[in-house]
């Protein structure tokens, strides 16, 4: 049915060196993205001919998803939203402003809320990994 193992697609030469500019200095994305880019052979950091990956928005929000009959939260939803754009060394836009959003919900019962904050932390880590994977797929598509 036409499926074949995915061939290696090397990053486009314009991404041989990538400088990551993050809007939120506290975000975990730059470090994780730098590691993933290095694994694919790209150099990361300022330098001659470096194309610039600018992260203009990087949000992680936990908000009530379902509220029950007694006005109590029964489910929380974690939404991770990242918006980025990519320009080459002389400023030409390689990737227009793109948003990658991942969300997942978890049950919440205030009578057993011991582990709520650690579940929230774990879900954010997992969503962040999926987000980085999706971002890389977008970078691999840049020719």
């Amino acid at each position: 049915c036409g499926f074949h193992l995915r061939e290696a697609k090397p990053l486009s030469p314009t991404l041989s060196r990538v400088q990551i500019e993050a809007s939120d200095p506290f975000s975990t994305v730059p470090l994780a993205l730098a590691r993933a880019l290095r694994e694919r052979g790209a150099a990361v950091g300022p330098g001659a001919g470096a194309s610039v990956l600018k992260i203009t928005r990087d949000e992680a929000v936990t908000e009530p998803l379902t509220i029950g009959g007694q006005a109590r939260v029964q489910e929380y939803r974690v939404i991770l939203r990242i918006t980025f754009e990519l320009r080459d060394a002389d400023g030409k836009v390689l990737l227009d402003s793109t948003t990658i959003e991942r969300q997942r919900d978890y049950r919440f019962d205030e009578t057993q809320a011991l582990g709520a904050s650690s579940e929230d932390e774990r879900v954010r880590d997992e969503l962040r990994r999926e987000q980085i994977y999706a971002l890389l797929r977008a970078l691999e598509a840049v020719r």
Binding site: G2, F3, H4, L5, R6, P25, T66, L114, G115, R137
Partner: protein, 705 residues
């Protein structure tokens, strides 16, 4: 929302005249003054009178008129005839005016427009000196000056363009011609970007608190420090003092909110709340993030929260952590706690305080070959009236990830060691240790595909995750911060079924999962369907007290589907079927459709077995170009009860927005419903008056713009 903020935009307010873009914006006192005219008249006393479309320019200032006289000592120009004036901050036309090198420009019968933002208006006189302009008997609005929907009429308005703040004296706020508010003195931001909360009273009413009025007063204390005082009068409770301050440091942001109701008539008690937030960076790797919150009693949010989600807050989190990050390690130290704010909750349900709590994660930075990994946590748990304790949890591990374009193999062999020092006197330092072995593997198949009318690729990604953890009895271990994870897609690939470290699942299991995605030519995921299940070779024997062991050979099936057809269509669905009870565990479908630029419809259905079954339909329908019909129904099918109903409209032009909403929502644990009428007048560019409907709308109707 309208995109008319920022630079002068034609759609909203036509510029008085087309400004000359060639002027240079600085050095007024060192620049030459040029006066061009058709004819000149040289007076004896060194006076020039120019006639015939006179143009005077100096750096960023330009005046055009029919005639002008210029005297050299002291340098002063007079414009007896109607003129147009322009500088880097303002455009104006006036009946006459004078200019002098030393004390600025004075214009009479003025029509003016700010060049950044859309503030404009009229004035009897306008005296412009650098960034400061003082207007007398002036009106200020962001609407079209010909027929302003609203305007501020004041005896005196002073605008500081650098600080982007206006100050006015005996001011009337007029809706059309009708004055609706009066202030002896007030200040207001002249640009919309600076969200400084609300400058005008917020009014609303609800059957549980009666008339509810907030009268904010904005204090612009310094470019990086401002405060908003928000005294709030609630008919059935009394006068509550509230304030928000914000301080922007060089590498820090500090925000402090508090509210203080000395005597709440209805609750016959003092009601207070505060929220202290502080973020600070130290160099490139270290930063402090603190959010300390407190309320006086557990019904505070019920009585004073203005949105359903704030009313439904049952646990109020506070935390403060110093975190350091580097390519190969992450370290954090601090603490957190959760305060019960739900009257129905017995106090023993309050989660343990984790203070101090330190975590340290390490991963060797090499990009290929085996890597050493360490995850560790040291915590002191404490809770009033209950034995607390310290817990150390270490998981050193060796991982050897093999990543290829066509798949991956991630073996991991670790040893989890957990030790306690408990306050209880018997068996006060139990320990637990066991190896954890896991193998995550997957292949990625691809083929060209043409969906949505464009070329792209479809992937087929089988994934197998094997986990082995020997059993060790853990009944003697306390339960500090451990609970079962909500079962879902993530659970299929986790090496523990519990949050926290008090329980480590024993496992001899293999997860089988399949994902197929469609990526468009830009590599963005437009469709994803995943299906997976855990097969237990031996059913797990570790369970939380009171939960039965599961002897079913397989976990619930998990299916996830997400489709982003175009940027206007989104469909997301999840489903979990549990063969153990041969019933659906979780089922949810959500469809969102954007249309006509600002229109949106959301339809959602959510079901969790024995918990809830709800439908949530919300919409914002644009009618003609200024009107927006808004409606939402959140209905519980299980209890056949309305959770939240809302209907209303928004009329919005480029300078004013009127929102009127009727709302009915569950207010408290007894399930009583609260009816609320919300009226909001938003003067675009100046802040809004009325209950903060827009913000709450954005939460109530996902995608409301």
């Amino acid at each position: 929302a309208d995109t008319c903020f920022g630079a002068l935009c034609q759609s909203c307010v036509a510029p008085l005249f087309t400004p000359n873009q060639t002027l240079i914006n600085e050095g007024r006192d060192t620049a030459d003054t040029h006066i061009e005219a058709d004819r000149y008249q040289l007076g004896k006393d060194g006076q020039y009178s120019a006639n015939g479309n006179v143009v005077m320019q100096r750096a960023d200032q330009e005046v055009k008129s029919e005639s002008a006289t210029y005297q050299t000592e002291p340098p002063k120009a007079a414009f007896p005839a109607p003129l147009s004036y322009q500088d880097q901050r303002m455009l104006a036309t006036a009946q006459s005016g004078t200019w002098s090198a030393d004390d600025g420009t004075l214009l009479n019968q003025v029509l003016f427009q700010m060049r950044d933002g859309r503030g404009n208006g009229r004035a009897e006189t306008a005296s412009l000196a650098g960034p400061k302009s003082a207007l007398t008997r002036a009106t200020f609005t962001s609407c079209d000056p010909a027929h302003p929907a609203w305007s501020l009429a004041a005896q005196k308005i002073e605008i500081d363009s650098d600080k982007q703040v206006g100050r006015a004296e005996n001011v009337r706020l007029q809706l059309g011609k009708v004055p609706i508010f009066y202030w002896p003195r007030m200040s207001f931001p002249t640009d919309a970007q600076r969200k400084t909360g609300f400058l005008y009273p917020q009014l609303g009413s609800a059957n549980d608190s009666g008339f509810d009025l907030i009268v904010p007063y904005y204090l612009n204390l310094a470019p990086n420090y401002d405060a908003t005082l928000k005294p709030r009068y609630i008919q059935e409770r009394g006068l509550m003092l509230a304030a928000e301050t914000r301080y922007l440091g060089e590498a820090s942001l500090t925000e402090f909110e508090f509210s203080w109701l000395d005597h709440d008539r209805k609750a016959d008690d003092r009601r207070t709340s505060f929220d202290f937030r502080h973020q600070q960076r130290f160099g490139a790797n270290w930063f402090l993030n603190a959010d300390i919150r407190d309320v006086s009693d557990d019904r505070y949010f019920e009585d004073f929260g203005d949105s359903l989600s704030s009313v439904a807050t049952s646990l109020l989190p506070s935390s403060a952590y110093l975190t350091g990050r580097a390519p190969s390690w992450t370290f954090s130290v601090g603490g957190d706690r959760q305060e019960v704010t739900d009257p129905r909750l017995p106090l023993n349900v309050e989660p343990y305080r984790r203070l101090p709590r330190a975590t340290f994660d390490y991963l060797t930075p090499n990009l290929s070959g085996p890597q050493f990994q360490l995850e560790s946590e040291l915590v002191r748990f404490s809770k009033d009236g209950v034995d607390g304790g310290n817990r150390l949890d270490l998981t050193p591990a060796v991982i050897w990830p093999l990543e290829r374009s066509y798949g991956f193999l991630r073996p991991k062999l670790g040893y989890r060691y957990t030790a306690y020092e408990l306050d209880r006197d018997i068996d006060s330092s139990p320990t637990r240790g066991m190896p954890i072995a896991s193998l995550d593997s997957g292949l990625i198949f691809e083929r060209e595909a043409n969906w949505f009318g464009a070329d792209g690729t479809q992937t087929l990604e089988p994934r197998v995750y094997a986990l082995y953890v020997p059993y060790e009895n853990q009944d003697n271990l306390p339960l500090f911060d451990t609970q079962a994870f909500t079962f879902g897609w993530g659970s299929l690939f986790r090496d523990n079924a519990f949050t926290g470290a008090d329980r480590q699942i024993d496992a001899k299991q293999v997860t089988a999962a399949l994902t197929t995605r469609y990526l468009d030519d830009a590599g963005l995921e437009r469709f994803r369907f995943s299906l997976g299940q855990i097969r237990y070779l031996d059913p797990p024997r570790i369970a939380l007290p009171g939960t039965p062991l599961r002897d079913e050979p397989g976990s619930a099936y998990v299916a996830d589907l997400e489709l982003n057809w175009t940027k206007d269509w989104t469909l997301a669905a999840t489903h979990q079927y549990d063969p153990a009870v041969s019933a659906t565990e979780l089922s949810s479908v959500y469809v969102q459709r954007h249309f006509w630029d600002r229109g949106v419809v959301n339809v959602g259905y959510r079901y969790r077995r024995d918990l809830f079954e709800q439908v949530d339909v919300s919409t914002a329908i644009p009618i003609k170009d200024n009107w927006l019909l808004i409606a939402r129904v959140n209905q519980s099918l299980r209890d056949d009860e309305l959770l939240e109903g809302l209907a209303g409209f928004e009329y919005s032009t480029c300078c004013i927005a009127v929102r009127i909403l009727g709302r009915r929502y569950v207010r408290n644990i007894e399930g009583d419903l609260n009816n609320g009428i919300y009226v909001e007048l938003e003067f675009k560019g100046l802040g809004s008056l009325g209950r903060r409907a827009e913000d709450f709308l954005r939460r109530a109707i996902l995608g409301y713009r």
